[in-house]
Symmetry: C2
Subunit: 138 residues, 2 copies
């Protein structure tokens, strides 16, 4: 099984950095294609699987949600997916990233000024606690 065209699951795991259990999990839930088996029942993976797993990993690193990854993979994966559809998914993702950035920026300034107020003087009340101690929805 040292042929390029037949990897055992452990080897696939090593090459892609994806946990063995996770690979089987991906198969179970339909994220990756079910590989063929040896006569003894062991999974045999090919280059396509290596690519797909690497793809999944990369996409998750880039913050794509599992649902988005699924969507791209269901378009045929990196090999066949249509450029425009993938681009649309990425564009959505970009929007989300930007929204999150805006949220965080607001939060950052709120936290920073509050912490600063607290640090400045040793007044009776703690600005940070006050900040947290109001449950009216923002």
């Amino acid at each position: 099984m040292r042929d390029e065209k037949g990897l055992a699951i452990g080897e696939l795991s090593r090459r892609t950095g994806v946990n063995i259990e996770t690979i089987r999990y991906f198969e179970r839930v339909g994220i990756v294609a079910t590989p063929p088996r040896t006569s003894g029942g062991r999974r045999v993976y090919g280059a396509g699987h290596v690519r797909a797993l690497g793809f999944i990993r990369r996409a998750r690193e880039l913050g794509f949600t599992p649902a988005e990854v699924r969507a791209i993979l269901s378009l045929g994966g990196p090999a066949q997916a249509s450029c425009s559809e993938v681009r649309e998914i990425a564009a959505h993702h970009l929007e989300r990233v930007r929204a999150k950035m805006a949220d965080l920026a607001q939060l950052e300034s709120l936290l920073a000024t509050t912490i600063d107020r607290c640090e400045g003087d040793g007044a009776a009340s703690c600005a940070v606690i006050e900040l947290l101690d109001q449950y009216t929805t923002t």
Copy 2:
């Protein structure tokens, strides 16, 4: 039970916006104090609980992790927590927020330029797919 000093769980839920099941869950896992009970076995909440739940909710809205919320509550909650300890937790949180912002900024520009490259020309290969299709760890 219309006394200010004795709320049923439903009323507490309504006032704080925290799900009834979640309130009981918080009790089970030790996030909030176990309230006294009526003779019939029903939980009776007071102003302290209202405050604590509101506090938890607010802190979660502000992105504090459950562990951080727990930490602050274990300092005695909004009422007794020490200003400096709370401030330290908040400062850590602020750091994390800033780190995340930096990450997102990088991701944003990567996504934006990649999507843009793809949009520009109808070349053979899709820049977005190429971006995703490399599983070497960043």
